[in-house]
Symmetry: C2
Subunit: 378 residues, 2 copies
């Protein structure tokens, strides 16, 4: 049977301490009983085994622990449990990596489209010269469906590539889900009929239990362009299930409710692991993360690491994922961010478009023109 390897950052002062902590993690995440009550067979097969512990900085160590795939059974929830279940409660243990190629027996679907697949779905204008894509959000909650659809129409007229629901738009009485999806889908079509440019509209399908699957299906049938999913609210396994049916209908993953996993240096996941690797394996075609310089606190280094991780193809499916930094991007900074991050990026831009004195259509057009001119020059 296959063993897969999880990499951890451990906080420890000495090598002995790091090794002891690694062995503690190896037991905690697998058999969870003291070694002296394990039979040799269970110890050998089912207990985690430290492969290597090496120092990375003064009080920081990298540990690699292998686990047998027989620990997992057929549940993705149990896979996440072995990855971070009880050690989510250990301050001093952080998941940094995983040998994904050893997990090919799990039903991890990966992105159905990937960067190339998403580009192929974009309107002709967006496909030219492989420039970064631009996505905005329909908001605020409280607007009527007609008001939201009008904004959607203006965005689409402005030539934006992607339009997503605000991640807070769910099934509020002010704009019920099904009504909104129909109206916004019609709005992007109307703009397309007028301009020849069709934006991809992604309604937020995040809900409770099977309701997420139902909304995804409603959105697809209504002719929307893809779906916004908040995996830490509806469940990563639910996003993975949607991904099985998302060819031509890309999934954009939103980080709400996920931040606690990535904000600490000493527990949880590294941002690049969560947003660049785990989400991709669970089916995200776009991974939204809080951009450097925005109202959150990610460093440029973290953002670049997330970008690289997203763009790496999954070995099993050869598909990758668009990094989608959100926050901090404005008309006067998009050129700079494009230089830093490169073409295969989807920029999320929200609030500042709404503040443009000429309206959101003009705001979009200016930004798209800025991007087009930048990439035509090169």
């Amino acid at each position: 049977m296959t063993r897969f390897t999880v990499s951890y950052k451990l906080v420890a002062d000495h090598e002995d301490e790091a090794m002891a902590l690694s062995e503690k993690v190896a037991g905690e995440q697998s058999v969870e009983v003291p070694d002296d009550v394990l039979s040799p067979r269970i110890f050998e097969i089912f207990r985690g085994h430290t492969q290597k512990v090496s120092q990375t900085s003064e009080s920081s160590w990298e540990s690699k622990i292998s686990y047998d795939s027989r620990l997992l059974g057929d549940d993705l929830s149990q896979f996440l449990n072995v990855l971070l279940g009880n050690v989510s409660l250990y301050n001093g243990v952080k998941v940094t990596g995983l040998s994904w190629d050893k997990l090919e027996h799990l039903q991890l679907n990966g992105p159905a489209n990937g960067i190339n697949g998403v580009r192929a779905l974009c309107s002709a204008k967006s496909r030219e010269n492989r420039r970064p894509l631009l996505c905005s959000a329909l908001k605020p909650i409280g607007l009527s469906t007609a008001e939201i659809a009008e904004i959607c129409y203006q965005f689409a007229l402005g030539g934006i590539d992607l339009i997503k629901d605000d991640h807070g738009l769910a099934n509020q009485a002010s704009s019920p889900f099904e009504e909104r999806v129909a109206a916004c889908t019609a709005a992007v079509q109307k703009a397309a009929d007028e301009t020849g440019h069709k934006a991809i509209y992604l309604p937020n399908v995040t809900a409770d239990g099977e309701q997420t699957l139902r909304r995804f299906s409603i959105a697809k049938k209504a002719g929307a362009g893809g779906a916004l999913v908040i995996p830490h609210l509806c469940g990563l396994h639910q996003m993975n299930k949607l991904a099985a049916d998302a060819e031509g209908f890309p999934i954009m993953a939103h980080p709400a409710f996920s931040g606690s996993y990535v904000l600490s240096n000493s527990f949880g996941f590294t941002p690049e692991f969560l947003y660049g690797e785990l989400w991709k394996a669970f089916g995200a075609d776009f991974s939204i993360y809080p951009n450097y310089g925005g109202r959150f606190s990610f460093s440029m280094e973290s953002c670049k690491k997330i970008n690289s991780a997203c763009r790496e193809e999954l070995s099993a499916t050869k598909k990758n994922c668009f990094p989608a930094p959100g926050g901090g991007i404005q008309r006067n900074s998009i050129r700079q961010f494009s230089e830093w991050y490169g073409k295969d990026t989807t920029f999320l831009i929200g609030g500042s478009l709404y503040q443009h004195p000429g309206g959101v259509k003009t705001a979009c057009t200016e930004l798209i023109d800025e991007l087009e001119s930048m990439y035509k020059e090169t």
Copy 2:
């Protein structure tokens, strides 16, 4: 319409800074656009409003922000989104409380049994003199169903009150879910036939999507006594759904994958809010948390706060929840912990029972005798 209030701990150096951060949170968790683009109506109704900011220590402030229930629609996922969605990404903002009585329109089921309901389900021996309850876990993963059922039988013979699956037991080939549930249910019945004491067996039903509901239903039909649920793996909304059908079949919630929300002083949830309030609202009859003195790092103060929060009745249903500290409890410490924590506690004890030279049956009997004698004395 009702407004509900969320309490936050904010990290800030001055009152102005705290107030600005509070207003930033109020916008972020609701309308998520700059105030200057909001109509007066949307600003008034849909934007969060800071009610009060007060200093609690040198760089720590308490902020109370009210939100209109119209923000929520009918999804619990959107409720969690308003509670901690994007601010999960803010280092310096931590959720500490909520006005639950203003959320009675949400489909939050709360515990189906509560402390009194669970006691009524316990075997006569466990009901006497309202002593703390004792729960152990079947492990390690890798044992066959027959081996697990034998341990279950020994625990039950030893007079333990509750027996749960290890939280890592899912549907592994070594002991498939349905087979294990049948065998362990038979094991506790066999012990009951012999001794008159029937332990409550709680298999782990945590799985992906609808599979969790199916396993819960299988467990119920097989005659198990309740269910172990890992809400941060299957989804809090899924636990809530199970709770609607859990009268006489209590739900024990396990903290795997939840630790990142509670380990920091400056983001996420306080442990007492997550394990004592949120889980209870979402249907936990028992809330397992990492005990003081165990292999995790909770303080005695945190543990006592969790205990108090669990025992408080939900205003809507008048039901509460058993605090279930795990880790650090042994034969020589259970008396001390009982004094600290009081009668309405369920102690989880695992590894040390397995290490007892006389076997798990003897280990259980000694512990139960210790508890019984303690409460007979009083």
